[in-house]
Every structure is written in structure tokens, then in C-alpha cells.
């Protein structure tokens, strides 16, 4: 049996009244994330998803309930909370705006140096991680501010990966990128998970992206955990998702509608090839009714 790497028990965070900023609290979240999963987190703005992920590395502390990392309460020893942040790495939205060092190398090394690792180990990690993000060592001496938007994004992601966290969380890693940049980032995330075996959580607004890379989908709605299940299972709730203001992947919706019309089709379809084959069987086999 696999071990849950991340678990929450009745996790609740209520903001005190009177704060002016937009609040997205979370209520009573119970969740078990298994090691090695690639979890897609969806929910519209204000649903609580950003608040939830900040509990996973102790940037926020729940007003009640617990977060367990590898079975241990992350707040058991308050002084060790930084170690939790090294084990659960969060890469926030538009991470390129956190770059600050003179060179790409130094910037990627910022996280590992905070971990007080040896110089050799830091060097090994920086060299290792630059490959994961599809760049090479020729970038090391460049200033991060001279790179293109997509490159900056990848260097920033590398900076979090270099901590070699057990759990990597990416908040909207593709926001603002053009289609090419988006595809690059998505594929490097999948590659990273495959070669390191670490658990990855990706927050995204794009159902298409989630359906392509995720093994499981977590849906937040109005501060509560609505679903945490396989991709197929979650997207089969198309009506419920729509009422939460979420879409389902366009292709999947086609098959759900066909099924509704009484056609005998599979609905767990997320790729063009599968869609084509399914439609061909429908059209050629004529298995209506």
C-alpha cells in the first residue's frame, strides 16, 4: 500500500472579520494525497484553492484542523516550519517576479543555500535542475532580467525544483504564456514527475491542461473540497462542475452531450486520437440506441 504523502484533517481557515482584502477561506477539508500523484487543482477565483495550497507548506496555519506531511503534523514543532517549506515547494503565480539575483545560477541556488547545503551539493542541484526546465548551462552566467518571458518563468520554476521537494506545488504555471510556452511548461512538469517520482500539484484554470497531465483532480468550491478523484470520475460530474462555474474539457463535453442524446459512447475522452476513434466507431458501427 502506498503512503499518503500529504494529508489534511478537518482543515479550516476562517479569516478574521474586518479584513478588507478578498478572502477565500477553507472549511473542513479532508484529503489524502498519495505519493507520486500529479494532482490538478481546479476551482474558480475565490474558491479557496490558493488558501489551501499555502497550508501545505505552512505559509498559513489553519484556524483548526491539521496538515500531515508523511504522517507527521507540520506544526508539531513550530521552529522547524522552514524544513516543511523545503519539503513542500510552492511556485507561485507569475514566479518570474521573484527573481532577484545577478545571475541565473545564483538565483536557482537561493533555495538550496537557504537549506544550508554544501557547495558541491548546491552545484549538483543547480546543474541537475536546469535540464529539467529545458535550458542549459550556458544560461548560468546570464542575468535573469535579460531572459525572455518564457525563459524567466522556467528559471523561476527551477529555483523551486532545486530544493528537491517531495511535493512540488505550482500555482498557474502557464498563466500569461503563449501556446508554445504553455506546452513547454506542461511537458517539463510531466517529465519532472516521471524522472523524480515526486508528487506534483498543479493549480490551473484550464481544464484541457489538467485533463492532459493530471492523474487526479481536486475541485474546490465555495471554501469546501467538492471532489478529489480520478480525472474520469471528476469530469463525469459535468452538471455539478458547471454549477460551480467550471467547464469541462471541450472534447469531453462533446461526448457527454452525445451520450445525453442517447448515443452509446465513452465519455472519458481527453485526446484528439481517442475522440477520433470513438467517433469513427459511432459513425461506422452505427451503434446508436
Amino acid at each position: 500500500m502506498s503512503i499518503s504523502i500529504l494529508e489534511t484533517k478537518n482543515l479550516t481557515h476562517i479569516y478574521s472579520k474586518g479584513t478588507t482584502s478578498q478572502v477565500d477561506a477553507i472549511r473542513d477539508v479532508n484529503l489524502k494525497i498519495e505519493k507520486g500523484e500529479l494532482v490538478g487543482i481546479i476551482g474558480h477565483t475565490g474558491s479557496g484553492k490558493s488558501t489551501l495550497i499555502q497550508h501545505f507548506n505552512g505559509l498559513l496555519k489553519g484556524t483548526s484542523g491539521t496538515v500531515l506531511l508523511d504522517g507527521k503534523d507540520i506544526w508539531e514543532d513550530k521552529s522547524k516550519i522552514r524544513n516543511v517549506r523545503f519539503r513542500v515547494g510552492i511556485c507561485f503565480q507569475y514566479p518570474e517576479y521573484q527573481l532577484f539575483e545577478e545571475t541565473v545560477y545564483k538565483d536557482i541556488a537561493f533555495g538550496p543555500s537557504n537549506m544550508k547545503l554544501s557547495k558541491d551539493e548546491i552545484d549538483r542541484r543547480v546543474r541537475n535542475v536546469i535540464k529539467f526546465v529545458g535550458l542549459d548551462e550556458s544560461y548560468f552566467e546570464k542575468s535573469p532580467f535579460d531572459l525572455s518571458g518564457g525563459e524567466k518563468r522556467r528559471v523561476a520554476i527551477a529555483g523551486v525544483m532545486a530544493m528537491e521537494p517531495d511535493v512540488l506545488i505550482l500555482d498557474e504555471p502557464c498563466a500569461g504564456l503563449d501556446p508554445k510556452g504553455r506546452d513547454t511548461v506542461l511537458s517539463l512538469i510531466s517529465q519532472y514527475r516521471k524522472s523524480t517520482g515526486s508528487t506534483v500539484l498543479v493549480v490551473s484554470h484550464s481544464m484541457e491542461d489538467i485533463s492532459k497531465i493530471a492523474t487526479r483532480v481536486l475541485v474546490m468550491n465555495e471554501s469546501k473540497l467538492a471532489y478529489y478523484d480520478t480525472v474520469d470520475a471528476v469530469f463525469s460530474h459535468s452538471e455539478e462542475l458547471k454549477s460551480m462555474g467550471l467547464n469541462i474539457p471541450a472534447l469531453t463535453s462533446l461526448f457527454l452531450r452525445l451520450k445525453e442524446k442517447g448515443y452509446n459512447v465513452n465519455t472519458n475522452i481527453y485526446t484528439l486520437e481517442k475522440a477520433r476513434d470513438e467517433l469513427l466507431t459511432l459513425l461506422k458501427g452505427g451503434k446508436s440506441e
Binding site: T19, Q54, I90, C91, F92, Y97, Q98, G111, N114, V160
Partner: protein, 271 residues
Amino acid sequence: MISDITIGQYYKGDSFVHKMDPRIKILITVIFIVMIFMCKNFLSLLLAGIFLVASIFASRVPFRMFFKSLKPIVPIVIFTAVINIFYIGGGKELLSLGFVSITSKGVFTAVFMAVRIVLLIMSSSILTYTTVPTMLTDAIERLLSPLKIFHIQVHTLAMMMTLALRFIPTLIEEIERIMNAQKARGADFENGSLTDRAKALVPVLIPLFVSAFRRAYELAFAMNCRCYTGGAGRTRMKQMKLHISDFAALFVFAAGFVGIILINKFFGVVI
């Protein structure tokens, strides 16, 4: 926290004070501040206090908003009070601790100063709570417009103030965002020596400056596209008109001013 800062926070309402001409409000605030510092005895201070409380009632801004605006300056009030207690001599000696002694005059001055600072902050809060920031800067621009003859770019100054007020909340959000991102990479802002903590701010300040410059550049661009060429030839949507009530309010405060001078004269100077 940083979000406690109340500068430029407008409290929606349509009270008499909200509707007053902002130029008159600024003038009255200046008069009131001078009044506070003219107070030489408790009776005159009491009169100033009555004026303030009456103004707060007239503004219909809840009292808790004023306490909120006082929160960040509590250390300053305590600091000045303490300094005064120990350094002002004269009057009866109340307590002696070897080289320092606390005197009645010292305590008196300390309390007096503390009350003055509180009144000062609260009076300027009435102004900012009841006046839309753009109106405030507009009013400052108009009040200072005579300075144009000295070739002072009054309009530019007012525009800079407006933009500063506009971007304070945006930059505060940005600081919080960057701090979270660096914390997630193990940055430590809470522990270590003072120099360690100052160093820990570098990863926050550099991205903050980079982003502030980018914002400034984009903003200048956007303003250009909206045909902004400086103050010349500009009109204003919101006109400022003086009403009789504005003059009445000004008169009442002028009377208060005279009142304080009289009280000082007839009831003796304590400080």
C-alpha cells in the same frame, strides 16, 4: 501589519463633512492643527477636543475608524511621553531615581503632548476619511496654484500625490506576494540578527523595485495614450463650489481659534 495603514483611506458617506468643499476642509484642518499647538492650558485643550469630537459626529464616520488610525502611532505617542516625563524639569518632584527625577511639570507636559499628537492624527483622519483622495490632491493643487508664479509645477506635484495614493495598496499587495514567494524558497524574515534580517530583505526589495519601475513605465505609457500632457488645458469632472455652509464652518473654527487665545489669556498658561 502593513494593511493597517490608513493613509488615503476614504470612508464612504454623505454627511455634511463629506460634502464640504475640500479646500475649506484642508484650511480648517490647518487651522485646527495650529489651534492644538496654541493650547497652553487644559481648558483650551478641552475646547479643541470638543471641536474634534463635534467634527467626528458631523462626519458620521464611526469612532472605531479613528482608533484604527491611531494604532500605528501608539509607539510614537509613548516615546514622546516618556521623553517628556524624564527631561522636563520644574514643579513638584514626584519621584527620584538617583540621576533621573520625575516632576509634576514633566508628567503634565507628557500628557499634554500625547493628547496633542492624538488630536493631530484624528483631525487629519477626518480629512482623509471624508474626502476622496483625488479631490484632496485636486484641492491641494488649487490651494497651491498661486505658487505657479514661482514656476513651481503645482499640477505635477498633485498628480504625483494621486498616483502615489493609487499605487500604495497595489505595492503593499505586491510586497506580500513577493515575501510569500521567497519564504517558500526558505527565506527567513523573522529570525537572526538585525543585519541578517536586513539582508533577508534584499530578495524582496529587488523584485519590488523592478516591478515598480515596470509599472511606472507602463503607467506613463497608458497616460500618454489617454492624451495626458500635463496640467495645461485640462478640465475637471468634479467642480469645487463654495457654499454658505463652507464659510459657516470656517467661521466656527475661526471663532474657536479666537476662543483658545482668550482662554490662554484669562486662565493662565500652564505649559
